[in-house]
Symmetry: C2
Subunit: 229 residues, 2 copies
C-alpha cells in the first residue's frame, strides 16, 4: 500500500503522471493573460483537448473570487450551494457540526481541486457543509446556471467534469480503504509523510479532525515518534 493513499494531492498526483512538468512549472502559461485563468487552462488540458476559442468561451462563464483566511465560501443551513469552485491558489476545508457539536472536517480543497457541497448542489437542498478558507484563497466560481449554459455550448465540459468526479471517487475509495485498515497512529504518520508541505500550512487540530482523532492524540503520537528517532 503506497504512501500516496492518504495524499490530499490525489488529483495532482494523477496530473503528474500525465505531464510531470506541470506542477514543477506552474507559471509556464502566464505570459498570455492572467495567471488564474492559465492555471485552469493547464488543468483542463490534462483531461480534454480544448482550443483557444473554446477556452475563451469557458472563461466567460467563470467568476473570479478571493476569500481571505477564515472567511466562509458557503455556510451550512443559511444557503443552498449553487456553484462548483476551482481553487487556483490557497486552501479551504469542508466541515460540518455533528450531533455532539463537534466540527468534523470531511475534505480539504487545495490548488487545482474542484470543490462543492455536492449534496446541496445536486439536490438543491440547503448546504450541510461549511466551506471555509484556511488561507487566503483565489477561486474560480462556475455557477450551476453557467455550467448548464456552458455545457450546451461546449459538450466536452461534461466529459471534463465526468473525469474530475471519477478522480475524486478514486481519492475517496483510497481514503476509506486507509481509514478501515489503519490504526490512528498509522493514519497520522502516513498522512504527514504523504503531505509534508501541507501539514505546515494547516493547524494540527484540523488534521486530527480530518483523520477522525483528537488533537490530544495527535500530540501524543508526535511526541512518541520524536523520542523514537
Amino acid at each position: 500500500m503506497s504512501l500516496d493513499l492518504l495524499s490530499i494531492y490525489e488529483h495532482a498526483t494523477f496530473l503528474i503522471s500525465i505531464k510531470k512538468s506541470f506542477l514543477q512549472k506552474p507559471y509556464f502559461y502566464t505570459s498570455r493573460s492572467s495567471q488564474m485563468h492559465q492555471n485552469l487552462v493547464a488543468y483542463i488540458h490534462r483531461y480534454v483537448e480544448m482550443s483557444d476559442t473554446e477556452i475563451e468561451v469557458f472563461n466567460r462563464y467563470l467568476i473570479k473570487r478571493k476569500i481571505s483566511k477564515r472567511e466562509h465560501l458557503i455556510e451550512a443551513q443559511k444557503e443552498t450551494c449553487t456553484a462548483r469552485y476551482y481553487i487556483v491558489k490557497g486552501c479551504v476545508r469542508l466541515y460540518y457540526f455533528d450531533e455532539k457539536g463537534n466540527e468534523q472536517i470531511i475534505h480539504f480543497g487545495i490548488d487545482n481541486w474542484w470543490i462543492s457541497d455536492y449534496e446541496s448542489l445536486v439536490n438543491q437542498l440547503p448546504a450541510k457543509l461549511h466551506i471555509q478558507a484556511i488561507e487566503d484563497t483565489e477561486l474560480l466560481e462556475l455557477t450551476t446556471e453557467a455550467f448548464e449554459q456552458l455545457s450546451k455550448k461546449l459538450p466536452k465540459v461534461e466529459r471534463l467534469f465526468r473525469i474530475i468526479m471519477e478522480k475524486t471517487t478514486v481519492a475517496f475509495h483510497n481514503r476509506i480503504a486507509y481509514m478501515l485498515s489503519s490504526s490512528g497512529e498509522e493514519l497520522y504518520t502516513t498522512f504527514i509523510n504523504a503531505n509534508p508541505g501541507f501539514c505546515q500550512r494547516v493547524p494540527q487540530y484540523m488534521i486530527a479532525s480530518y483523520l477522525g482523532m483528537t488533537p490530544e492524540f495527535v500530540s501524543k503520537v508526535r511526541s512518541r515518534t520524536k523520542n523514537n528517532s
Copy 2:
C-alpha cells in the same frame, strides 16, 4: 443527521426523490423488451432525456453478463479493470487485502449502481480491488472502448456519467462524515436501520468489514440491543 446518511441505497434514494414510483414498480417497462435493458432505461431517464433511438444505440454497446455467488468479476493484481458495470439485479462487494492480510470491504454494489475499480480503470493500472458477487448477479458491462465510441456518438452519455459520479461523491461524503462522528455501536445500528432488507442478504461479517469493525464486536452490539428491547 438523518438515517439515510449510511444508506447504501444512496443512489436509489435520490432517484426516488425525482420519481417515487420507480423503485416501487421496477417492472413497469418490461413489456417491450428484456427486463435487464429496461431496468437501465428507467435509470437513465432519471438523469438525462434520451430518445428510443438513442437508447437503442446505447444498448448496442452493452454486454449482458451474469456471475454467480462467490464468482469474481475482477481479481486484483491479475488484471486491469477495463469496464464500468451496471448492476441490474444482485449484489457485489468491492474489497481488498490490507498489509495485515485482512479483507476490507470498501463498497457494496447493488441494483441500479454503476461500479468499477475506478483507479484501475482511469489510470490503466492493475486492479487493487476484488469485485465479487455476494448473490447471483446480473450486470451490464460497458467497456472503456465501448464507452469512448458511445460518448462520441451520444455526448449526453458523458453528462449521465458526470451526474452518476457526483451522486457517488455525495454518498462518500456522507459515509466519511458518519464514520468520523459515530461510535462503532452507532455505526452498526444506524446501518441496519437504514438498510434493513440488505442486511438479510449479506453475511454479518461483511457488514462488520464495511463498517470497519470486527464480527465479534457486531455480535456483541447485537446481543446488547436484543436485551435492551
